[in-house]
């Protein structure tokens, strides 16, 4: 097998399994469009398998029988999983907690080593509030956000960088000190929060995977399991950042 074929085999594994009679690129575009619209996984699989069944019996390719994949996906007007705003904000909390904890940990690391105090500036508070607001906003409009990232990746990148630049500028400019807090407790507290956030995220990831897989309509129960690699990746993902931060803290403490 050439490297091309091996790579395509990995990339289109799902499409080939669900819809062997449909062109892989068509199936991939179809699934992506419905994912961007927030259609639940089983519903996507239902529509794709029906298209596959039609192509198998008619002997025509999907592009001929159904036209453009994105347009066909849109024309189906499938129901979307409209989670309430509260649910979305709740889902993003573990990650938000980890981000705040990591920032606090890195900020307090230097002063903690020397046993000093961490200065909380106006700029830091303003930037933190803005960042929290942006995360909440994006988590509520997550489909729109993903579509923008997919369709305009370069533009999104520039906006993200500019945003970060503004936040850093704010932090540097508004340097009036509100309070000074002993650094060691802050460091210890933020490391604990980071671990709490990781555990919370790990439990979230466990349930999310099962709920929204592309499950074929007549699939047997064994076929419902996500691939072992996928499940493993999801279980380990929340721990990457905490482990990195802990290692850095330890190294810094010893060598600093």
């Amino acid at each position: 097998m050439t490297t091309h074929e091996a790579r395509d085999r990995r990339r289109y594994a799902l499409e080939r399994e669900l819809a062997p009679h449909v062109e892989e690129t068509w199936a991939e575009a179809f699934i992506l469009e419905l994912r961007l619209r927030g259609v639940p996984g089983p519903r996507i699989a239902d529509a794709l398998v029906e298209a596959d069944s039609h192509c198998a019996e008619s002997g025509t390719p999907a592009s001929e029988a159904f036209g453009d994949a994105v347009e066909y996906a849109a024309s189906l007007e499938l129901p979307t999983a409209d989670e309430p705003v509260g649910q979305r904000l709740h889902d993003v909390l573990p990650m938000a907690l980890q981000v705040v904890a990591v920032l606090a940990a890195t900020w307090s690391m230097v002063d903690a080593r020397q046993g000093g105090a961490v200065e909380i500036t106006v700029g830091a508070v303003v930037a933190a509030v803005l960042l929290a607001g942006e995360c909440a906003f994006l988590s509520v409009l997550v489909e729109r956000f993903f579509r923008t990232v997919v369709e305009h990746p370069v533009r999104t990148w520039f906006v993200a960088m500019a945003n970060m630049g503004v936040l850093v500028l704010l932090m540097l400019a508004l340097d009036g000190v509100i309070a000074a807090v002993p650094a060691r407790p802050v460091l210890a507290g933020s490391l604990v929060l980071m671990l709490v956030g990781a555990v919370w995220q790990a439990r979230h990831n466990g349930t999310d995977v099962e709920e929204d897989l592309l499950v074929a309509p007549l699939a047997t129960p064994t076929a419902l399991q996500p691939s072992r690699a996928h499940a493993m990746a999801l279980r380990l993902q929340p721990w990457f950042l905490p482990v990195v931060v802990l290692v850095l803290t330890a190294v810094f403490w010893v060598l600093g």
């Binding site: 009679h21 239902d46 529509a47 398998v49 029906e50 298209a51 596959d52 069944s53 039609h54 192509c55 198998a56 019996e57 008619s58 999907a62 029988a65 159904f66 036209g67 347009e71 066909y72 024309s75 189906l76 007007e77 499938l78 074929a216 309509p217 007549l218």
Partner: protein, 139 residues
């Protein structure tokens, strides 16, 4: 009439919903079978991209229910069955369609509105057929 005839898209769009309901009236069936039935009836080839969104709308409106069945050695098929609401919709649409198409036929094949002059050329139109307004629709 050959199965390859191509009717104007506007005409087909107008009757497709009704024809699909009628095809479903004979018993639960699946997308490709419906398309074949319509083609065999002389309406031409209905694309999947047109048919399945329509079936989806029928399901959303409560006119059909769906059930997946294992295919014979092939991929599974999604079967559509007409509901009681769907049957009522079929009867009502069929009645109205027959009235509508009867009126259209009468207009198209009827005599010119103004008195015809000896030099005017009126196209040879088919004679008006006698249409009944009570349709024979299976229940």
């Amino acid at each position: 009439m050959s199965e390859d005839v191509v009717w104007p898209g506007e005409w087909l769009r107008g009757v497709l919903g009704l024809c699909v309901l009628r095809a479903l009236a004979d018993g639960p069936t699946y997308g490709y079978a419906i398309a074949s039935r319509l083609a065999a009836a002389g309406l031409g080839h209905v694309k999947g991209g047109t048919l399945y969104p329509l079936l989806g709308r029928l399901e959303a409106a409560g006119h059909v229910t769906v059930e997946w069945r294992q295919g014979e050695g092939g991929p599974g098929r999604k079967y559509y069955s007409l509901t009681a609401t769907g049957e009522r919709e079929l009867v009502s649409q069929a009645e109205r369609w027959l009235t509508f198409s009867g009126l259209t036929a009468d207009l198209v094949t009827g005599p010119p509105a103004a008195a015809a002059s000896p030099t005017s050329t009126t196209a040879e139109l088919p004679p008006p057929s006698t249409t009944t307004t009570t349709p024979e629709v299976p229940r």
